[in-house]
C-alpha cells in the first residue's frame, strides 16, 4: 500500500493527497469530583475529513474553540484520535505507537500563534533550532552550526542571531525563529497554528510572504489554521470552515470566497470589514459567542446562532452535500429540500 501510493505520487503528484484525513474524532472527557469521574464529553473534533496536496495550502477557519488547533495536534500525533484515519503518504498513522511514529515526526512540523511561548526562554535561538537537527541525526557541532546559520538566513534573520535568547527578539523575529526550527528537520507538511494572529499587520504581511516564498522554494504544504478569512484567502488553495468540531463548508478558495453557501460562512465573510463603505452585508452579524461544546443539542451545531434556522435543523445529524467540484456543505438548505 505504502510503496504503491509513493509510486503514484511520483507519477502524478498533483492528484494524490499527501495527507488525507477521514472521519476524524476527538472527544475530551469532562472530569469532576474527588476521584475524577467522567461526567461527560466535549466533542472537539467530530467526523472531520479533508485532504492536503503536495505544495498546496489548506486553510482551516473558525472561531475560537471550534477545534482547529485540536486537528493540528491530532495530525502531529500529539493527541491520539478517538476515531478516524490520518493517512500520510498512503500510510495510516493514526494507530501507530510512539516508537513507530518517531521516524515520521520530522515529516510534519508546527508553527505556533504565540511568539512568546513558542521558544524556550532558557535556550538561545541557535540551540532551539539545533534541537531539530539533533533529532534528524546531524552529527558534529560545526555542521549543526552551519545549518543553523543557513536556516536563519532562510527566514531572513541573519546568522549572528543564533547566540541570542528569545527575550532579545521582537515578536516577528521570534516567529521567524519558530519557522526556522520547524524547517530544521526538512518537513513536507507544516501546520501553521494561527502564526500571524499575535502580530502587527505590517509584520503579518512579512511573515505571510515568507511562508509563501518558502512554499515556492521548498515545496512544503501548509495546514493554515486561522480565524482571519483575509489571511486564509490570500494563502490557501482550499478552505475548510469549522464550527464546534464540524467542517461546515469545504471548498476551493475561489469558490468559497465567490460563492459561499453555508450560513456560517456567509456570516463570517460578512464580518470582514469591507474596504468600500457602500458594500452591504448580506446577513446581519452573528451575535453571542460560540456555545459550549459540552452536551450540544441534537441536529445542526450552528442552530443556536443561525439566522435561517428551522425545525428540521434541530432533528438528527445534518448530512454533507456535494454542491460543486470539491465543494461540500453541511447544510440541507443549500439543496433546498
Amino acid at each position: 500500500m505504502n510503496e504503491k501510493s509513493l509510486a503514484m505520487k511520483q507519477i502524478n503528484p498533483a492528484h494524490t493527497a499527501m495527507l488525507k484525513v477521514e472521519g476524524l474524532k476527538k472527544y475530551f472527557p469532562v472530569r469532576k469530583g474527588f476521584l475524577q469521574g467522567v461526567i461527560g464529553w466535549i466533542k472537539a473534533v467530530d467526523s472531520v475529513a479533508f485532504e492536503i496536496y503536495q505544495g498546496k495550502t489548506l486553510g482551516l477557519v473558525g472561531e475560537s474553540g471550534c477545534g482547529k488547533s485540536t486537528i493540528g495536534r491530532l495530525i502531529l500525533k500529539l493527541l491520539e484520535p478517538d476515531e478516524g484515519r490520518i493517512i500520510y503518504q498512503g500510510q495510516d498513522i493514526s494507530g501507530l505507537s510512539e516508537e513507530k511514529i518517531k521516524p515520521l515526526r520530522k515529516e510534519m512540523q508546527i508553527i505556533f500563534q504565540d511568539p512568546y511561548g513558542s521558544l524556550n526562554p532558557r535556550m538561545t535561538a541557535g540551540q532551539s533550532i539545533e534541537e531539530g537537527l539533533r533529532t534528524v541525526g546531524v552529527k558534529g557541532r560545526s555542521e549543526r552550526k552551519a545549518q543553523v546559520a543557513h536556516l536563519l538566513e532562510m527566514v531572513r534573520i541573519g546568522a549572528d542571531a543564533a547566540g541570542l535568547y528569545p527575550h532579545q527578539f521582537s515578536g516577528g523575529q521570534r516567529q521567524r525563529i519558530g519557522i526556522a526550527r520547524a524547517l530544521s528537520v526538512n518537513p513536507s507538511l507544516i501546520i501553521c497554528d494561527e502564526p500571524v494572529s499575535a502580530l502587527d499587520v505590517s509584520i503579518q504581511s512579512q511573515i505571510i510572504n515568507l511562508l509563501k516564498e518558502l512554499q515556492n522554494t521548498l515545496g512544503v504544504s501548509y495546514l493554515f489554521i486561522s480565524h482571519d478569512l483575509n489571511v486564509v484567502g490570500y494563502l490557501s488553495d482550499t478552505v475548510a470552515v469549522m464550527y464546534l468540531g464540524h467542517i461546515m463548508e469545504y471548498a476551493p478558495a475561489e469558490a468559497l470566497y465567490d460563492k459561499p453557501l453555508h450560513p456560517y460562512t456567509l456570516a463570517l465573510l460578512s464580518a470582514i470589514p469591507a474596504p468600500e463603505p457602500d458594500d452591504r452585508h448580506q446577513l446581519p452579524a452573528l451575535v453571542g459567542d460560540v456555545p459550549s461544546p459540552f452536551n450540544p443539542p441534537p441536529g445542526c451545531k450552528f442552530q443556536g446562532r443561525c439566522p435561517l434556522v428551522e425545525d428540521r435543523c434541530r432533528k438528527g445529524e445534518i448530512k454533507i452535500y456535494q454542491v460543486g467540484d470539491g465543494h461540500t456543505v453541511r447544510c440541507w438548505k443549500v439543496v433546498g429540500k
Binding site: L35, Q36, R73, L76, L78, K102, R105, K106, M108, Q109, I110, F112, Q113, D114, Y116, G117, S118, L119, N120, P121, R122, M123, S128, E131, G132, R134, T135, L164, Y165, P166, H167, Q168, F169, S170, G172, Q173, G178, R181, A182, S184, V185, S202, I203, Q204, S205, Q206, I208, N209, N230, V231, G233, Y234, A253, E254, Y257, D258, L269, A274, P275, D279
Partner: protein, 392 residues
C-alpha cells in the same frame, strides 16, 4: 468579496522590524534587581555571613585540639556574663578561652557560649540544607512524575504490588525473614512476568484474572496529590516528635525526618509548574521534533520550573532550622554534649533571670538567621516572578 481583493492587503511593506531589546544576561538582570531590593539583599548578606560562620565553626570547634573548645567545663567560672575576663588564677592553661575573653559569657557548667554557638551554627546549617535537600529531591521527583506522567492510570496490580513489596520489606526489616522473603519473591516474580509479557507477547491477554488486575483505578496524579493532602493533614511537628522519640537520637535522623515531612510544598510547586509548562508551545514543538521525554523534562521543563522551587527551598531552610531548634529545645534533638542553638537555649532557660545571655544570644541568632532566609526567599520570589521583570 473576492480572493483577489485580499492581495492588496498583504503587500510586503519591506520595513525592517524594530531594534532588538537590550542585551542583558539573566544573571546580570538578577543581580540588578536584587541590589534594588534592599531587604532581600540584606537577607542575602546575612545568609552569606552565616555560611561563613558555620564553616569556620566546623573547622574551629572540631578535632582533638580545637581552637575553640565547646566542651571544656570550668565549674569555677560558671555563668560569667558576656565580655567578662577569665580569672586566670583558677584556670589550667588549656582552659583559658582562645580570645582571652568570654565573648558570649559562660553557661552553668562554665562552658564558653561563643564556642558552643559556633558549633551549633554548623548543626543548624547542615540540618537546614540536608533536610531541604532531601525534601527538594523528593519534591522534584514526585512533582515531576505527577506533572509529566500524571495522566497515566494506576492499575489494580500496581496497588497490589506496592502493598506486597512494602509489606515484605517491612517484615524483612522487622525480623520475619521467611514471610518477608516470600512476599518479596512474589513481588519480583510478578514484575518479571509483566516485563516479559510487555516485551514478548504483543497481544492483549483476555484472561479474566489479568483483566481484573489491569483495571485502571485512579491517575498517578490523583494518587500523588492525595498522598500530599494526607501528609499535609498531620501536624508536622508532632509527627516529627513521635518519630524522633522512637528513633535513636542523632543529627542524621533529625535531618532525614525533617526532610521526609516537608517535601509536600515542593511537590505541589513542581507539579503546578510542569502542568503549565507541558502545555507551553515550546514543549509541544520539542515533542513534534521528536525530542525524547527525558530530554524534554531535563532540558526544556525543569530549568524553567526551578524558580519557585528555589524560593520554597530558601524558605524551607528557615523552617527546618526552626524545627531543629524546637526539637533540641524539647530535648529530642541532637544529643548532648554536642551544642545546638536549640539546646543552648533550652539549657539557659533555667537561668533566664540570673544569666539572660544564655537564652537571648541563641534566641537572637535563630531569629536573625530565620528572618534572613525568609527575607531572601521573599525577595527571590519577587525577583524571579516574570510579571515583575521585563517580558522576555
Amino acid at each position: 468579496m473576492t480572493k483577489t481583493d485580499n492581495k492588496a492587503l498583504f503587500r510586503d511593506t519591506g520595513a525592517e522590524e524594530g531594534p532588538r531589546a537590550p542585551r542583558e544576561s539573566r544573571l546580570r538582570e538578577f543581580w540588578r534587581l536584587l541590589r534594588r531590593n534592599r531587604l532581600a539583599f540584606s537577607g542575602l548578606a546575612i545568609f552569606v555571613f552565616f555560611f561563613f560562620v558555620a564553616f569556620s565553626g566546623l573547622v574551629l570547634t572540631s578535632g582533638t585540639r580545637p581552637v575553640f573548645d565547646p566542651a571544656i567545663v570550668r565549674l569555677q567560672e560558671k555563668l560569667r556574663p558576656p565580655l567578662s575576663e577569665p580569672n586566670l588564677a583558677n584556670l589550667l592553661p588549656k582552659e583559658i578561652p582562645t580570645l582571652g575573653v568570654y565573648l558570649f559569657g559562660t553557661d552553668d557548667l562554665g562552658r564558653d557560649v561563643f564556642a558552643r554557638m559556633l558549633q551549633g551554627a554548623w548543626v543548624s546549617l547542615t540540618v537546614g540544607f540536608v533536610a531541604v535537600g532531601i525534601a527538594v529531591l523528593i519534591g522534584i521527583g514526585m512533582g515531576g512524575i505527577s506533572g509529566y506522567f500524571g495522566r497515566n492510570p494506576v492499575r489494580v496490580d500496581h496497588i497490589l504490588l506496592a502493598f506486597i513489596v512494602s509489606l515484605g520489606g517491612g517484615l524483612l526489616i522487622g525480623g520475619a525473614f521467611f514471610a518477608g522473603g516470600v512476599l518479596l519473591l512474589i513481588g519480583s516474580t510478578y514484575i518479571l512476568f509483566s516485563l516479559w509479557r510487555k516485551k514478548w507477547s504483543g497481544k492483549q491477554s483476555a484472561q479474566k484474572l489479568l483483566r481484573l488486575l489491569h483495571k485502571d483505578t485512579i491517575s498517578i496524579d490523583t494518587l500523588i496529590m492525595r498522598i500530599v493532602d494526607i501528609m499535609l493533614c498531620f501536624p508536622v511537628f508532632f509527627l516529627i516528635l513521635t518519630v524522633v522519640a522512637l528513633l535513636p537520637a542523632s543529627m542524621y535522623n533529625i535531618m532525614i525526618v525533617i526532610g521526609l515531612t516537608s517535601w509536600m510544598g515542593t511537590t505541589r510547586f513542581v507539579r503546578a509548574e510542569l502542568l503549565s509548562l507541558r502545555e507551553q508551545d515550546f514543549v509541544t514543538a520539542a515533542k513534534a521534533l521528536g525530542v525524547s521525554d527525558w530530554r524534554i523534562i531535563f532540558r526544556h521543563m525543569i530549568p524553567n520550573a526551578m524558580a519557585p522551587v528555589l524560593v520554597s527551598a530558601t524558605i524551607g531552610i528557615a523552617s527546618a532550622i526552626l524545627i531543629e531548634a524546637g526539637l533540641s529545645f524539647l530535648g529530642f534533638g541532637v544529643p548532648p554534649p554536642h551544642a545546638t542553638w536549640g539546646n543552648i537555649l533550652s539549657d539557659g532557660k533555667r537561668f533566664i533571670f540570673d544569666a539572660p545571655w544564655l537564652t537571648f544570644i541563641p534566641g537572637f541568632a535563630i531569629l536573625i538567621v530565620v528572618l534572613a532566609f525568609n527575607l531572601f526567599g521573599e525577595g527571590l520570589r519577587d525577583i524571579l516572578n516574570p510579571k515583575l521583570r521585563e517580558r522576555y
